[in-house]
């Protein structure tokens, strides 16, 4: 079976055949290899969320074709044929805790597996595994999800997706509104799922520091098109271009451009704080010898 996600000439038009029709995706072609950790960035309205919603066929293409691990989605694909696909592609939306509804944590997490036909016992086992995976203490299993803290509620929501054992996990701004500790916990979880469970992670984000800290590949979108697809170092090596795309640089790169403006010349654009500190230290010590 083909282990990639590929888009071939995919166009998605909202409100097609009306005066309001708008191409949210415009002839997009791309390939995301299995087991990659891919970040999708682009300013608001560039088509990021539309793109990822095609991967589990929440949206279907107006034209073109999408292949997800050997399963094909075309404009005429019916929902009946998509159940299997959706089981394999987990989607965590923004503020996923808003979708919690059950009376207890364990029941909420069991909902997904049961919906896909798992027996009560199997669903419970999968839910317990998922709780452990996201670091929710066993003592919380019978509590109401609405009595938990914001960070815990979000982990319950993510556990509900993981209980279906997806091969691909799509995270749409998973850390919005969380405090720094909660933020790091969720991002470390994504990394753990990628590194040790072999999941393909697709992260939609505005946080450029997360892109350099966690992602192996980056897709940049602008007005419904893919304008760059490469490693984080390829994407951020040209600060001018990044600003043209109405995007930010990672903190270290941004600080480096301000050092350059102040007349301190660095050899290259550092993406992490450690690299930035290396460059500054080298500059000071090199100056010391002359």
């Amino acid at each position: 079976m083909d282990q990639t996600i590929s888009f071939k000439q995919v166009t998605h038009t909202y409100q097609a055949n009306t005066p309001f029709s708008q191409d949210a995706l415009d002839l997009v072609s791309l390939t995301i290899p299995a087991h990659s950790f891919t970040a999708i960035i682009g300013h608001t309205g560039s088509g990021k969320s539309t793109l990822v919603q095609h991967i589990n066929a929440l949206l279907k293409p107006t034209s073109g074709e999408i292949d997800v691990y050997g399963r094909t989605i075309i404009p005429t694909t019916t929902n009946k044929n998509l159940k299997e696909l959706r089981k394999h592609v987990g989607m965590v939306f923004q503020f996923p805790e808003k979708q919690l509804f059950e009376e207890s944590v364990i029941k909420d997490i069991m909902f997904g597996p049961k919906n896909y036909g798992a027996s009560e016992a199997d669903a419970e086992k999968d839910a317990e595994d998922a709780m452990q995976l996201v670091g929710l203490d066993e003592s919380l299993r019978d509590k109401s999800p609405f009595d938990l803290s914001g960070g815990q509620m979000r982990r319950v929501a993510i556990a509900g997706v993981l209980a279906m054992k997806p091969e691909i996990l799509i995270l749409d701004e998973p850390t919005a509104g969380l405090d720094p500790r909660g933020h790091k916990e969720i991002m470390d979880l994504a990394q753990e799922l990628h590194d040790h469970r072999g999941l393909t992670i697709i992260l939609v984000t505005h946080q450029m520091d997360d892109v350099v800290d966690y992602a192996s590949d980056v897709i940049v979108m602008d007005r419904g098109k893919i304008v760059k697809h490469g490693k984080p170092s390829d994407i951020f090596s040209d600060p001018k271009w990044v600003y043209q795309m109405h995007l930010d640089l990672p903190s270290s790169a941004e600080f480096a451009t301000r050092l350059v403006k102040a007349g301190i010349h660095l050899k290259q654009t550092p993406l992490t704080i450690e690299k930035l500190a290396d460059e500054i230290a080298e500059l000071i010590k090199w100056e010391a010898h002359t």
């Binding site: 300013h43 608001t44 309205g45 803290s149 914001g150 960070g151 919005a176 509104g177 969380l178 405090d179 720094p180 500790r181 909660g182 505005h206 946080q207 450029m208 109405h246 930010d248 903190s251 270290s252 600080f255 301000r258 050092l259 102040a262 007349g263 301190i264 704080i273 450690e274 930035l276 500190a277 290396d278 500054i280 230290a281 500059l283 000071i284 100056e287 010391a288």
Partner: protein, 277 residues
Amino acid sequence: MKDIIQIKNITFNYPDQPLLFDQLSIDVHEGEWTALIGQNGSGKSTLARLIDGLIVLKSGQIVVDGLIVNDDNIFDIRNKIGIVFQNPEDQFVGATVEDDVAFGLENRQMPREEMHKVVESSLKEVGMWEFRDRIPANLSGGQKQRVAIAGIVALSPKIIILDEATSMLDPRGRQEILDLVTKIKQENNLTVISITHDIDEAATADRVIVVNKGTIVEEDKPDNIFGDIRKLESIGLSAPFTSQLIMALEKRGIDSSSQYLNDKRLIAWIKQLVSNK
């Protein structure tokens, strides 16, 4: 300096939950920008709701601009305070941007002609006048927060509370909102309270109050608070970027005598090191 808000020995808990605040006292100085920082669940937003009388104290007292927060004074107090909430979706009532800003004024029965003038000047102040006929739902997150701020400016309050008002915005939108509030604060001599877990937002404040588990852990100028990275991390917050860089440089034998520097001062210091040596 006058204390525009005095929180005196307050105790509060939600039904069936342990005490969130136990004998907590805080003073907010008039004309200052005060940042309340702390992790999710530390009681920051509850404090804003208590100040605005949206929820009721168990014991203790809150005084806003000389008025005790109670049922008799609640409308006068709410006229003095504007709150920008985290999710702008939760606070729109008007069909268009213009209607939305006018809503609060209609509530106060302002004459129609005056109302038009105030709506126009408020929307111009936040740079959203050209969007006056748009539907609020179709705006970006940053634009929505601008409209929410215009609705507050229109009512000319003395105090603005930002309740995680920038946490749903991207970094650029966040900076734009902070710059806007800074401008409005200066022009109208306002008191600003920002409730946040964004350290860079807190760094723009005059005074920072660190809240953890319902108690004040620290209260000082940003410079003094942000020097101690380990302490911030121990209560679930991260240090500002500049403090992290200073620490990384220290590891490489470059010592800043470990005080907090904001980005301008840090760049100046690095420049000095490079040219001196």
